[in-house]
Each structure stands twice: as structure tokens, then as C-alpha cells.
């Protein structure tokens, strides 16, 4: 007997939550074949699973490596469902754009990658500049795409001053305030954030999502 939509949504969510990156593909296919709404499959199924994983991460039951594998399952499911989304299904809703990268001098990008995944899950349109990013590139990219948010990461004490520099450049370009800046990474702290005039600091990837929504004023996601 065919499984109900609710059952399949729950399964999609569970596949992500339980790191079943192979099974999620067949479940997503079954969901599509049954003619159910792909957008709901994403938001109520895959993204729901990723959010549950995020809760476990906050409770220190899941760790960064767990989230990475959950996200693999989510992206495998997205690969199946996304092509079937009706064009412009998000018409009329504002798309929040975010430029993200690891500041110049540092190549540690594990935290950045995780934040990118979580923000993507939350509905942000992400522009990933990678690691060891020349500071000017953050400003140029933010201008080019009219970004709402810049996320800066570094795991090294020696490269932290780059974050300050990006905030200063935003001020020089009169973009400060319109484009928000949030920062994170091992040696970074709320005190540092306040000192350099960034709009927020997050100690981890799940908090980063709440913070990002807050600073850009993003409503409850679809």
C-alpha cells in the first residue's frame, strides 16, 4: 500500500535527522511519484529533519560531524525535489541574500561551511566566497548582489583584525547598517563583536541562523 503524504514527510525528515543519505533519495522519489508538493517535501520534510538535527546539536547530543552527514542527506533529497519546484514559487517574498567567507590569512572553513548549510536551510540565498578571502571581495560581492548580510569566520587569532577591516570598509562605502555583518569562529567573542561594531556574534552554526534572521529582520520562514 502506498504511504501517505504525512508518512513520507516524516520519513524524509527522519532520513535527514538519522543521516540516511542513501535512503533519502528513494523516499524523495516515492514522494514525488505519488504527486505530492515538492516545496512541502523540502520545508516539512528535509528542512524539518535538518532543524531537528540542529536542536540536537544545541543539546550537545549531535556534533559538527553529525550535522555534516545530516546535511549530505538533506542535499541528496533536495537534488531530487528541487527540479520539480514550480517556477517562481516564492514570488512576492523577499529573498534574503548573504555573502559568506573565511577572512584573509585563514583557510579553516569547516565552521563557515556549516553556517552556510544552516543558513541555506533557513532560506537564505548564499554567496560563498570560500576561504582566505581578500577583504575587499566581501564588499564587492555584497554590492554586486545587494546583500542583506555578510558572515565572516576565522579560527585564527592572527586573522581576526580582518573582520574589523570589513566593518570599516562597509562604513566607508556607506553600506554599514544596510548590509549587516555577523561574525564567528573559535577566538571570536561577543566582546570583540561589540568592539569592532559588527551586528552580531554567534558561538555556533545553529545560533548563527537565529542571529542572521534577527539582524536582517527575516520573518518566520515558509
Amino acid at each position: 500500500m502506498a504511504r501517505s503524504k504525512e508518512e513520507l514527510l516524516k520519513l524524509l525528515s527522519d532520513c535527514v535527522f538519522e543521516m540516511e543519505d542513501e535512503e533519502v533519495i528513494s523516499v524523495a522519489q516515492e514522494y514525488l511519484d505519488a504527486g505530492y508538493d515538492p516545496l512541502e517535501g523540502i520545508t516539512e520534510g528535509l528542512v524539518d529533519g535538518m532543524n531537528r538535527a540542529g536542536v540536537m546539536y544545541e543539546e550537545e547530543e549531535y556534533f559538527i560531524t553529525d550535522l555534516l552527514i545530516c546535511s549530505d542527506a538533506m542535499y541528496n533529497g533536495l537534488d531530487i525535489l528541487k527540479p520539480h519546484l514550480p517556477q517562481k514559487s516564492l514570488d512576492g517574498e523577499k529573498t534574503y541574500k548573504c555573502v559568506i567567507g573565511v577572512v584573509e590569512g585563514d583557510t579553516h572553513d569547516i565552521g563557515k561551511n556549516l553556517v552556510k548549510i544552516m543558513l541555506e536551510t533557513a532560506g537564505f540565498e548564499m554567496y560563498d566566497l570560500g576561504r582566505d578571502v581578500p577583504l575587499r571581495n566581501f564588499i564587492d560581492k555584497a554590492k554586486e548582489v545587494d546583500a542583506d548580510l555578510i558572515c565572516l569566520s576565522t579560527l585564527m587569532t592572527t586573522t581576526m583584525p580582518g573582520m574589523k577591516k570589513v566593518v570599516e570598509m562597509l562604513k566607508e562605502e556607506n553600506m554599514y547598517g544596510d548590509t549587516k555583518v555577523i561574525i564567528g569562529g573559535g577566538p571570536v567573542s561577543q566582546t570583540y563583536c561589540d568592539k569592532i561594531g559588527a551586528n552580531g556574534y554567534s558561538p555556533n552554526a545553529v545560533e548563527a541562523v537565529k542571529l542572521a534572521k534577527l539582524v536582517v529582520g527575516m520573518g518566520i520562514p515558509a
Partner: protein, 339 residues
């Protein structure tokens, strides 16, 4: 007691006349731009020339910053020797990895073995020999990057972390290979005259791995590394620096065979003491404060860690290169005055 006797006694839990004040080097960077300008010895030159490396390390002691010598000044030597592409950085930035070597843990056989007689591995051991020849009672700390940090700099770390679960067998073979290379470098540092080895593994934290994988990969291979170093000298003193929060992995950290544990600013000495019992604890003056606060604040923080029973005073993380020298000197001044 001279600085060397004091540090070695403290590391083994023996009686000291006062707490030592050190900064190991390696990931725990102790070089600031102000020092480079005063001595005229600059990064990146000092990463590739044994005399400059030794002289810059010595100047840390001579300028009253810390009571030790420490080399090298980065975490990239092991991976460079195994084939990774390195950007040598500048007088602000440390060297960092820009090109990985392999795409999967299964490809580890393609990696070069570390040759202690060439490249910057040799520069480092030569610098240690030069410092050793001073015979001035200042302890020499040799630094190693931990096995997970090395492994995750040889390939894309996201793939690496996933494969720790999905390709366990290959992952363990890879880790064993990597650890053996680091052991070679560590043993060479000991033979060259290092008094202490400090190991930092910032990519292998409990926050990243969780307790199960921390034990399976971090504890296992750091201990293998420690055992390997101690093949040269069975009581050789070893410091392990643990990055980030530790609360999810205290019982696993206790299995590490190090003499002393260095830890981050966000961990309170009281909390760690509760879990670690009578282990030798080292830390944890905030490197952010060292870069941005003033001498008075640093003095208070230093007094505070001593009052809370720290065994060795040191920064909580590597120093930012823009830290003012006065702030760094304030730690040692306070340690001495408190005596």
C-alpha cells in the same frame, strides 16, 4: 631555579619556587609584529631560515615576554613535507595551507613521507640545536600539529570528517600513517635538544567530533604520538593544548598521556580542576584581552589564574600579531611580582 628547571619541575608536578610563565609556539603563537620590528627579524623569513627562527624565538625571552624558547611559528610544516601547498603568510599572518594533496582518506598512500633531513622540518630542528647550544637555562619547547589537524589539512576537511565514519578502516590507516610522520618530526626535535614538546590539535576537538569520535580518533592518535616521542626518552615532558569547550569530552581528555593540559579562555580553571583532578593545568589568559585590553586588566587576569591554582601561566590561544608588547610583558611581570 632557572627557567628550565622551573618549567620541567612544574610539568612533572614537583615543587617550584613560583609558577612558570610560557607560551609554547606552534599553534600557540608567541610572535607579534612589534617584536619582529624591534629585532628586524621578520615573518615569513623566520619560517624558512634556522638562524632567524632561533633568533626570533630567543628574542621572545630576551624582551621579557615569556620564559621559554619555542619553535616553529606555525602548524604547516608537517603537511608541507607531506605535499600540501602552503602560503607562507606575511608579518601579520601565519603560514597556511592553500592546496590539499588528496581527495579521500583512501588515497593516503599517495602522500610523501616526512623527511626530517629536508625542508622546514630541518630548519626547525636546526633552530632547536642553535638554541640548545646557548646552554642558558631557558627551556626549549618544540611544537607539533596534532594528527587530526594534519590529516584534515591534507584533504578537504568536510570530506575528511565524513569519511571518519564512512570509511573507518581507511581513515584509521590514514591516521596511522599521518601520526607516524609526526612522530618522526617529534623525535627529531627531541634529539635536537627540545626540553618539552607541545601538541595542538585544533581540528580534533570534542565540539567537532563529539565524545565517541574524539576517543576513537583524537585520543587514540595523540596518545600514539606521545608514545612515539617517548620512544626516545620515556619520561619526556609533553603538553597538549585543547581548543574550545571541553565539557562533552572531559573523561576522554583524561585518557591522554600528556603531563600538562593547556586550555582555552572560555573554560574556567575551577571547572577543569573539578574534572581533571591533580593534572598539571596550563593557561589561560585570553588572547583577545592580550590584544585589546591594557596592562592593568592583564595584571588582574594573571593574578586571577594564579589564585585559582593554575600550574603554568600561559595565553589561552595563539597571540594575535597586533598585540602590544607591553600587554604580553605584563603577564610575566605579574607572575614575578606575585612571588
Amino acid at each position: 631555579m632557572n627557567s628550565r628547571e622551573r618549567l620541567l619541575s612544574a610539568l612533572k608536578g614537583n615543587i617550584v619556587d613560583r609558577v612558570p610563565c610560557i607560551c609554547p609556539g606552534g599553534m600557540m603563537n608567541m610572535i607579534i609584529t612589534e617584536l619582529m620590528e624591534k629585532t628586524g627579524i621578520m615573518w615569513p623569513d623566520a619560517h624558512i631560515d634556522a638562524n632567524k627562527m632561533a633568533d626570533l624565538a630567543a628574542s621572545v625571552y630576551e624582551y621579557g615576554m615569556f620564559e621559554n624558547y619555542g619553535v616553529p611559528f606555525c602548524m604547516t610544516i608537517e603537511v608541507e613535507e607531506m605535499g600540501a601547498g602552503i602560503d607562507m603568510g606575511s608579518k601579520k599572518f601565519e603560514p597556511h595551507v592553500v592546496d590539499y594533496v588528496i581527495d579521500s582518506v583512501s588515497e593516503y598512500k599517495e602522500l610523501k613521507a616526512l623527511d626530517i633531513n629536508s625542508g622546514r622540518a630541518k630548519v626547525t630542528t636546526d633552530a632547536i640545536s642553535i638554541l640548545k647550544s646557548r646552554e642558558d637555562g631557558v627551556p626549549i619547547v618544540g611544537n607539533l600539529s596534532g594528527p587530526i589537524s594534519v590529516a584534515s589539512s591534507l584533504m578537504d576537511p568536510v570530506s575528511y570528517y565524513k569519511e571518519l565514519r564512512r570509511k573507518k578502516e581507511d581513515a584509521h590507516e590514514f591516521m596511522e600513517f599521518v601520526t607516524k610522520q609526526i612522530i618522526e618530526f617529534g623525535q627529531a626535535q627531541v634529539r635536537a635538544g627540545a626540553d618539552v614538546i607541545a601538541i595542538s590539535d585544533p581540528s580534533g576537538t570534542g565540539e567537532i567530533l563529539g565524545p565517541k569520535y574524539f576517543e576513537e580518533y583524537a585520543v587514540k592518535y595523540i596518545n600514539m604520538l606521545i608514545d612515539g616521542i617517548r620512544e626516545v626518552d620515556e619520561d619526556f615532558p609533553i603538553i597538549v593544548h585543547i581548543c574550545g569547550q571541553m565539557r562533552s569530552v572531559y573523561s576522554e581528555i583524561k585518557q591522554l598521556k600528556a603531563d600538562a593540559f593547556s586550555f582555552d579562555a572560555m573554560v574556567s580553571i575551577k571547572e577543569i580542576r573539578e574534572h581533571m583532578g591533580d593534572k598539571i593545568l596550563m593557561g589561560n589568559i585570553s588572547s583577545f584581552a592580550l590584544e585589546s585590553a591594557d596592562e592593568e586588566k592583564i595584571k588582574k587576569m594573571t593574578e586571577n589564574v594564579i589564585d585559582n591554582g593554575i600550574n603554568i601561566v600561559s595565553p589561552a590561544c595563539g597571540l594575535g600579531t597586533q598585540s602590544p608588547m607591553e600587554n604580553i610583558q605584563a603577564i610575566l611581570k605579574t607572575v614575578k611580582a606575585k612571588n
